[in-house]
């Protein structure tokens, strides 16, 4: 079952949206007006007007009640998967927007980097939530840690603190190491290297974290 968003002839989708948002239940005057405006879609508009009328008959009171009773910050698995689709689609859109000549100069990256869009403030906030410093977050951003050493618990924690889908974060860590996040800021004297990856414990031990911070990370 893979219904996709209606492509249809050019203008059909816009015509159906126009009909749908004009009134709660379409009447003959509205439908006539829409068919005059989009004469090539008379049949589709009529069918959709009938479908709207039937749908509107049931009302929205049950939706309103269910919405009021739901925790808005408790995403269901379906919502999480929809967020994942959003991120994946965003990634493919971003990739397709890169000019071919730019593409050829860049090191290919197989996954969307969820750190790349963080502002400086967000970057620091994330570090604070994870209880680490910016050196360690830089290693996460630049994929300097061998993904084989990253525990599921740690990756889950990163996803939660980043407020990003888990599979996006896992894909980021598993992707090829790049020359660093373009457009990001680098506090160190040199830019991140493309050298070999560290194990998780090496990364934790060599980031200038306190003993307590190291212990907390290694326990995840």
């Amino acid at each position: 079952m893979t219904p996709t968003v209606t492509a249809g002839p050019p203008g059909l989708r816009e015509a159906l949206y126009a009909l749908s948002i004009a009134k709660d239940i379409p009447d003959a005057t509205l439908l006539d007006e829409m068919v005059r405006r989009y004469p090539q879609f008379g049949t589709e508009l009529t069918e959709h007007a009938i479908a709207i009328a039937i749908d509107a008959f049931r009302g929205d009171s049950a939706v309103v009640a269910a919405e009021a009773a739901r925790d808005p910050f408790a995403p269901s698995p379906a919502v999480s998967r929809a967020m994942s689709r959003f991120q994946n689609r965003l990634h493919s859109v971003s990739k397709s927007q890169i000019a071919p000549e730019t593409k050829s100069l860049s090191i290919p990256s197989e996954a969307f980097n969820p750190f790349i869009s963080l502002s400086r403030e967000e970057f620091r906030s994330f570090a604070k939530r994870l209880n680490v410093n910016s050196v360690f977050v830089g290693k996460l951003r630049d994929r300097q840690i061998d993904p084989d050493y990253l525990t599921p618990g740690f990756q889950r924690r990163v996803a939660d603190d980043l407020r990003a889908p888990l599979d996006l974060v896992v894909a980021h860590f598993a992707a090829a190491q790049t020359a660093g996040a373009r457009g990001q800021f680098f506090k160190a004297d040199g830019r991140p290297t493309n050298g070999g990856r560290q194990s998780f414990e090496e990364a934790v031990r060599s980031s200038g974290l306190s003993e307590a911070q190291q212990a907390a990370l290694l326990a995840l």
Partner: protein, 259 residues
């Protein structure tokens, strides 16, 4: 200054309601923590409730400004609302694989935000900043109808020509019209639901005739060749429409005295 909408109808460009414009301006000035507090309000009647039109704008704003924090905060809340809508409107049992279809609708809707500003429909979300519930209704109905069509190809059956007296069923259709026009209340909810199920259970051509004549408000036919009627909308004769109505009324007659 709020980004204006680009989607232009044939006559006029889309314009957000004033209340939405005001709420967008106000929420754009909120800190993330204050916005989160506002998003926790789920009662639509509460003045602090953030309308879905505003949420759409905030996510699009997040995309335009690469504000992942804003997107990550707002989009799941909006998708939660959409999922709630789908659970009510596309319930299990109504069509096969309802759960999969709900998830597909939700996923496809989320992708609109990723494709915003690019592709074949770069400003489709403009509709959602004006009338979210109606725009999402279209999105849902469109996908449900295509899935239903895929699962149940319509078998054309020859229509019987009836000589019955259509006027005999006027009471039935008066009841249908009344029920459509009355707002839903707890008292008539059961009746409405049963009548709706019965109408939806009619053969498509009978159902369409009932809706076009008794809900949308078309005449069955007209002597004026320029006048649109149920017959012209369905590309058939007035006699065919009357036959369909007669057959439908016979199936709905049990609702005549109810309500």
């Amino acid at each position: 200054m709020i980004q204006s909408l680009n989607k232009a109808g044939d006559a006029d460009p889309l314009i957000r309601p004033k209340t939405i414009e005001d709420q967008i301006s106000a929420t754009l000035r909120l800190s993330i923590s204050n916005l989160k507090a506002r998003l926790s309000v789920t009662d639509r009647a509460d003045p602090e409730f953030v309308q879905s039109e505003t949420l759409v704008h905030l996510v699009r704003h997040g995309r335009r400004t690469s504000n992942q924090t804003l997107i990550s905060l707002v989009l799941p809340v909006l998708l939660n609302r959409c999922e709630t809508n789908l659970l009510v409107k596309v319930p299990d049992g109504q069509i096969p694989e309802a759960a999969s279809l709900r998830e597909e609708i939700l996923g496809a809707f989320s992708e609109l935000f990723a494709s915003d500003g690019v592709g074949d429909a770069p400003v489709e979300l403009d509709f959602y900043e004006c009338k979210f519930n109606r725009a999402f209704r279209f999105f849902r109905i469109d996908m449900v109808r295509r899935e239903t069509a895929r699962l149940k190809p319509i078998a054309q059956t020859p229509e019987q020509d009836l000589d019955g007296e259509p006027d005999a069923y006027e009471d039935v259709f008066a009841r249908v019209s009344e029920t459509f026009q009355a707002s839903a209340t707890q008292e008539n909810e059961v009746f409405r639901s049963e009548l709706m199920d019965a109408i939806q259970g009619l053969p498509p051509e009978e159902r369409d005739a009932v809706i076009l004549v008794h809900v949308v408000g078309y005449k069955e036919e007209s002597d004026d060749p320029d006048e649109e009627t149920a017959a012209t909308r369905c590309n058939c004769t007035g006699r065919t429409i009357r036959n369909r109505l007669t057959r439908a009324a016979a199936k709905l007659v049990r609702f005549k005295e109810a309500l």
